[in-house]
Subunit: 189 residues, 2 copies
């Protein structure tokens, strides 16, 4: 049984600056941070991370991360979805930011729960019409990898491994579906 809410520890009310207490609000069944003065309840929910597996000339676009976590490891372009955008807009923006590439997005590829990180990871298929890319600010490098060259043991996140394996498996099968999965930390499956 938790004695504080999951997520980031909070001490003061963002609305009135009074101290927060931990309580289960009326009609709720979970502990939340609640303001001791103005009674505002603070909820924290899982965050959507969105990216895409983008192909050009039978190769897949990967970026080497220049920031923590997993600095120096490879990923597909992906990042936190922002308020006001759609999933596809988020995937395209992240590809532009991390790989300086204008992706033409295709269908949904995979949704991976990452419960221990409080995230859901959503991946689309994409193609790079003009073949142009470069390392963005959050990348040390960007490169196109043939399927047999993908650095599987140097991938940044389990969800990226799942998305790339699914992309290749579905391409080999000649059909597309949406894969759903759960990525746990420090486990093989």
């Amino acid at each position: 049984m938790n004695t504080i809410p999951l997520g980031i520890k909070q001490s003061y009310c963002s609305q009135c600056s009074a101290k927060l207490i931990v309580a289960t609000p009326s009609g709720d069944n979970k502990l939340r941070y609640v303001c001791s003065s103005c009674s505002t309840v603070f909820y924290e929910n899982p965050k959507p991370v969105v990216g895409c597996v983008t192909e050009y000339a039978d190769r897949i676009l990967l970026c080497k991360r220049s920031i923590e976590p997993r600095l120096g490891y490879w990923t597909v372009p992906a990042g936190f979805m922002e308020l006001g955008e759609t999933l596809q807009q988020a995937a395209a923006r992240e590809t532009l930011e991390e790989a300086c590439a204008t992706v033409q997005l295709g269908s949904l590829l995979a949704i991976v729960d990452v419960p221990e990180a409080g995230q859901i990871h959503v991946f689309f298929r994409g193609i790079l019409p003009d073949g142009k890319f470069a390392a963005g600010e959050e990348s040390l490098d960007a490169a196109l990898y043939a399927p047999e060259e993908i650095p599987w043991s140097d991938l940044a996140f389990r969800s990226v491994y799942i998305a790339l394996k699914q992309y290749l498996a579905q391409k080999a099968a000649g059909t597309e579906w949406v894969h759903t999965d759960i990525a746990y930390k420090n486990r093989e499956s």
Copy 2:
């Protein structure tokens, strides 16, 4: 051009109680609330809402909302995903809370962006093995509706309309896929 971040207005730092300022952090390109004292940056991201279209004896389980927004309108069981749970766990929990029903979840049905609400709505298919349900605390009523009886003009949310239409269309087609869509406020499409 926005002059404050999208989302909920925040005035004080949850970590140290100092006043927040609006600024674009180094390496970022969007306005955020940033602490004037400890420099903590506060991000707000879209929230996942998860539910399911649950069937029993060729009828679909709907709940009449007892809370705002859309009090008195019908919905499939759905609600905000909590930290630490998977999408499927969230859908099952919401069905238990709102319809007192133990759902057996099936495959992913639809993902609907709701950018103006800062939400993504995720729907699964489900069946009710024992046919048991009742109105939960957040419901005025719960009922099984035959497809031709669904109260289309009294549904709570556009995304619920999309999910129910997709469910019936895919059932009529005899095949399943994952529908992706965008729900805008006050628009027909």
